[in-house]
Symmetry: C2
Subunit: 684 residues, 2 copies
């Protein structure tokens, strides 16, 4: 168990035990690094949330396994408490940007302590409220007020039993009935049952439903509807709806995921969220193309907002995992050197190589997320308020979508790999529930397939890059196209080759090599597509057969490049004190990532002979070694308070064996050894 | 829920739903493949065990989450029932080989249904009984009888709170007291508390303890002792012992892992398992070097037996995961081709590439395990009975140890990766508890760090290969050295280069390339070691700094090579009907594994230019495509009965949506849609 007092203040220097030996070796001041890596305003929001959560024992984490009924009950109670906290008091007086920044930061803080609560709140309140503003109109404002005041609780119903990724195939229909001026919701077959809907299993009073809108036998595609599900007073479902809990899952046991089947269930026409399309007074479908900015802005947000949250949550999960593993490694002794001294396992090259690249990735992802979501909020706000040139909007929306898709895949997969590597790097004790890895893994796991399956999302990004690759009009000055402006010079980029006199450990080498990789993989993918086209293959087949080793790799390489682009800006703009170590992290993340593409670099002729591969490998190992004196302080700079980290192996006070004893239920063990040992010794 | 009837007979052809469309496409007879891949005698043992387990509802799996108290209670009750089953009636009349083969096959069958029960039984009964025979003498036979008759329950106490991998550093002592002729067990400090000991938390009456034996102030190293822990009647712990449960874990919730602290706890001298070393009547330590064969045979078994079981269990876990994913993929439709037909996702190249190599790995691992554990049992039996030349034994023991260490790492890691890939390939539904992946992952997870941490084990194997690399006397005819006889010709092997006229899809190419990889990585590792030696680095540092990209890769490459060596023998010796498809699986596993080392092949000059990498990639994809008509039948040939597979997504009857509905608690949904739909349709 982690002590709850004294841990909330993130600003003071941390100290304790063997960790201090490493802390003293760091080249930078902790406070400077904290400021460099996170806007103090955001840190302050997080601290406010954590202080509130710590002040009430109901929020304190336990490591006891509860039945999923108990977990759901507990999460529901916490949500009620949380909604009534003072954290939202000023919210509705703020402008869009301030409110959004506050909510996404609050979401991160809550998620780091309790993933169930943050998801239940997001699905039930904040994402729903946001979707109402984006997709609804004046007539839906009452729901906005009701959900914030706690009168209703929502959920987002999209996925169907037999269809997830291919949203065009979703079968639930909302058919307009001229006679009654109502919409009739129907589930045509069991495969169309909405399922996996968080909060719907037991609690939701309303669903934000996505269904095919049919007016006069014409299907107008997916639209969003607000659908009453249960009586808010009694929670009894309305007639003509079959609704229930989908049962046990592998994690997130506090969320009541549910299903719903509609049996020609009637709702008022006004339940259609009608900003994008509406049914007019004559019962005809019409789209609101009079204001395309709003339309696109709304589409942008409803497409990407959930994924941006996933990116942040994944980055934070990665941080938790690596903080635990690095801190424990600095205290755990195994094997001894030539002189018989037992060494902390942090001293071993293999261990450094297993962990430090993930620490570098934590900093890289955090830099990217921090600046990208500022840009994202700005773009959405600007588009809502008409400050963006209408002609540019479609390109911006597509570009942001492409960035979000591939970074979602890269960041969620990297985090997943990191959790496992960190758990193993902690040895057997890493399997104890109080170490924290099991819950991190189980709760992170759905992120790789929900809000778009990673494998499918990667295709969206590669399609976008491949279109740009052959676009002579590529407008390079506008975000986010500015990030890929080098593609204009693809012919020059492709002529690059590694020269022995170039320093591998440099941002110039890393970024130029990534540019070459993106151009070469684009070219190679297009060539394969052309070959298949010559064989008379159809478009569908061509796309499917150019993913593996080609378009898929291209997408992931592009994600790494993007993250490095943001990270290098951070390195260049930060204070002198922290710049050298941030550069080392940049170089390590860049070269470690490049190392995974070493075969492509050889295959494409970017390099040849043994020295390049050898040099790249040695550079990675040298950077790991160079970073060793810094890593404990680097974890301090990104770690949440011990209360939030909630791991016996990762506390900042360096008392790992005391906490292990506590978690293992070893009662008063220290007392036993201090007194009894001596007593018993004399008996022998 | 899986139906329990009709599923136990593994021999008849399977049928049902959309799976049959693929089943009909297979080129081989199911029965022939089953016989080719598993000795029918072993299959019969498994069927006997499964039939027994299915006959009693107490053993039936549930997908309900129990508290860990409930899980422990349930597992303890099942163990009692299982010990009293008729499965062990003839056991003690059989010879060593028959008994061992029976027990390891039985263990596999039980583990595939209930990992908790198999572990509890192994630690509590079979591994303990086996260790007694290996390490004990006549005076310990009473424990052997007692543990089989259920009078006592054991556990294996090795790991300490602060030491796991480095067994030399274990601190628990057993000091001989001349006056009383007793051994005094002591835990000198809290870091020496034995922990993670399965069965010890609540139930064990006896522990097989490993502690430092001290006689007359001289430490003779780790020895094994039988230590009474609790009164078998009351389960009350004896005085001067602190024992308890270590608390919640990330999986295996049915096992009561415990800790124990000894406070100068006295046991009779006869509790020392004295086959290897003993304290004689004069109170002097002596080792029984009069019979080195027995000594080494015993050491061999106690070192490797647990790991061999882990290899088998991992292979079986991999089989369960891939069977579920392939069967579901054959039924799950997503997206549509140019003509609007929705396709099973098995048709997509990306999906094939994600899954089929793991199916190939399942066959490769199963072939390896099947034949290697026969060899292993034979060697142990031969050494026990004095049929092996004494001069050869040390080399054999080291060789088997080297094989087990690296294949343990490769197989457990591959299985871990496969579980995750399969879970993701099943999309969101893969996250439902009834899909089965969550439990597979949680229960598999400890295998990568227990019985030797994979990273540490890999070093044992690379040390062994590097010694052989420079050994001019390498005796190549004797198992297991025969497996590495090509090293004698290293100078010729290292001159190999890929030539364009060679067919990549061939066992000749694959095996020769692996030989080159092993020689090149050995040479490259030794060169790096020599460079460090010239810089005056000490031996400890040199070893640590030549693991990453060098010795570690060498070990893993060697494991792949070994598994391919066994697999190709299987391909060559099997019946004509199944040979072509087994060759395809061999080629896919071989080339997919080689693809991971593509950068090394370029770096070392084995190949150059774009065509090799391109060719290797295309070969992998072509084999995936070639195997598509076979994969459903291939899963049928290795799948356990549905009752044991216990996954809503993986049943052999192809009724995936019916089972999903059941698991999701959709009540009578089919009825609703057959009648109500029509009824309601008319109302609209």
């Amino acid at each position: 168990m982690v002590h709850y007092s004294e841990s909330t203040n993130i600003s003071p220097p941390l100290s304790g035990g063997q960790l201090d030996i490493y802390r003293k070796q760091a080249s930078f001041k902790l406070q400077n690094m904290r400021i460099a890596i996170e806007d103090p305003e955001r840190t302050a929001i997080k601290m406010k949330v954590w202080t509130y959560l710590e002040s009430d024992p109901a929020y304190w984490p336990t490591n006891k396994i509860l039945s999923s009924d108990e977990e759901k009950h507990k999460t529901a109670k916490l949500l009620e408490k949380f909604r009534n906290s003072k954290l939202f008091d000023s919210l509705h007086s703020w402008d869009y940007k301030t409110r959004t920044r506050y909510l996404i930061t609050l979401n991160q803080a809550v998620e780091m302590l309790n993933a169930n609560l943050s998801i239940k709140f997001a699905l039930g309140v904040s994402l729903f409220a946001n979707a109402l503003l984006c997709l609804g109109t004046q007539r839906h404002l009452k729901y906005y007020k009701d959900v914030w005041s706690g009168k209703i609780l929502s959920c987002l119903a999209i996925t169907e039993l037999a269809h997830g990724s291919d949203t065009k195939r979703l079968k639930t229909t909302a058919t307009y009935d001229h006679l009654s001026n109502e919409l009739v919701l129907n589930t045509p077959n069991i495969g169309a049952a909405k399922c996996w809907v968080g909060n719907l299993g037991r609690q939701s009073t309303h669903a934000l439903l996505f269904a095919q809108l049919i007016v006069d036998n014409i299907c107008h595609g997916l639209h969003a509807f607000i659908v009453p599900i249960r009586d808010p007073e009694t929670l009894i479902p309305y007639p003509n709806i079959t609704v229930g809990d989908i049962g046990e899952k592998d994690g997130l046991h506090g969320i009541d995921n549910g299903y719903v089947i509609f049996h020609y269930y009637r709702i008022p026409k006004e339940c259609l969220l009608n900003k994008i399309g509406d049914i007019n007074e004559n019962g005809e479908y019409e789209t609101a193309f009079t204001n395309p900015q709003e339309l696109l802005g709304a589409a942008l947000e409803s497409l990407s907002a959930g994924r941006v949250a996933i990116l942040q949550e994944s980055s934070n999960t990665l941080i938790k995992a690596i903080v635990i593993a690095v801190r424990y490694s600095a205290q755990r002794l195994q094997f001894s050197d030539g002189e018989g001294n037992e060494l902390p396992i942090l001293e071993y090259q293999t261990h450094q190589w297993r962990l430090f690249p993930f620490l570098a990735a934590s900093y890289a992802f955090k830099s990217f997320m921090h600046d990208f979501d500022e840009q994202y909020i700005n773009v959405v706000a600007d588009s809502r308020e008409g400050r963006i040139n209408v002609a540019h909007l479609p390109q911006m929306v597509k570009g942001i979508h492409a960035i979000v898709c591939t970074t979602k895949a890269l960041i969620t997969w990297t985090t997943q790999t990191a959790i496992q590597e960190c758990r193993e790097a902690c040895g057997g004790h890493g399997y104890h529930k109080a170490a924290g890895f099991g819950d991190l893994r189980s709760n992170h796991d759905p992120r790789v397939t929900f809000e778009g399956d990673n494998t499918v999302l990667l295709q969206q990004t590669s399609n976008w890059i491949l279109r740009l690759y052959n676009d002579p009009d590529l407008d390079s000055e506008m975000f986010p196209l500015s990030e890929v402006s080098f593609i204009k010079n693809k012919d020059i980029v492709l002529q690059r080759k590694y020269r022995n006199d170039v320093s591998i450990i440099s941002d110039k080498f890393i970024m130029e090599t990534y540019e070459w990789l993106i151009c070469w993989l684009s070219k190679s993918t297009l060539e394969k597509m052309n070959n298949l086209r010559k064989q008379q293959k159809d478009k569908f087949l061509i796309r499917n057969q150019t993913q593996v080793f080609k378009a898929r790799t291209l997408s992931l390489v592009f994600a790494e490049f993007l993250i490095l682009t943001y990270f290098i800006k951070k390195c260049k703009s930060c204070s002198n004190d922290v710049r050298p170590v941030l550069y080392k992290l940049f170089n390590l993340y860049g070269l470690w990532s490049l190392h995974k593409h070493l075969a492509v670099l050889y295959q494409g002729g970017y390099c040849e002979g043994p020295s390049f591969g050898e040099g790249l490998s040695e550079a990675v190992l040298r950077l790991c070694s160079d970073l060793k004196p810094e890593v404990v302080a680097l974890t301090d700079a990104i770690a949440p308070p011990d209360f939030v980290l909630n791991s016996i192996l990762g506390c900042s006070d360096g008392k790992v064996y005391e906490r292990l004893m506590e978690a293992f239920n070893l009662p008063d063990a220290t007392a036993n050894f201090n007194e009894d040992s001596i007593l018993l010794q004399s008996k022998l």
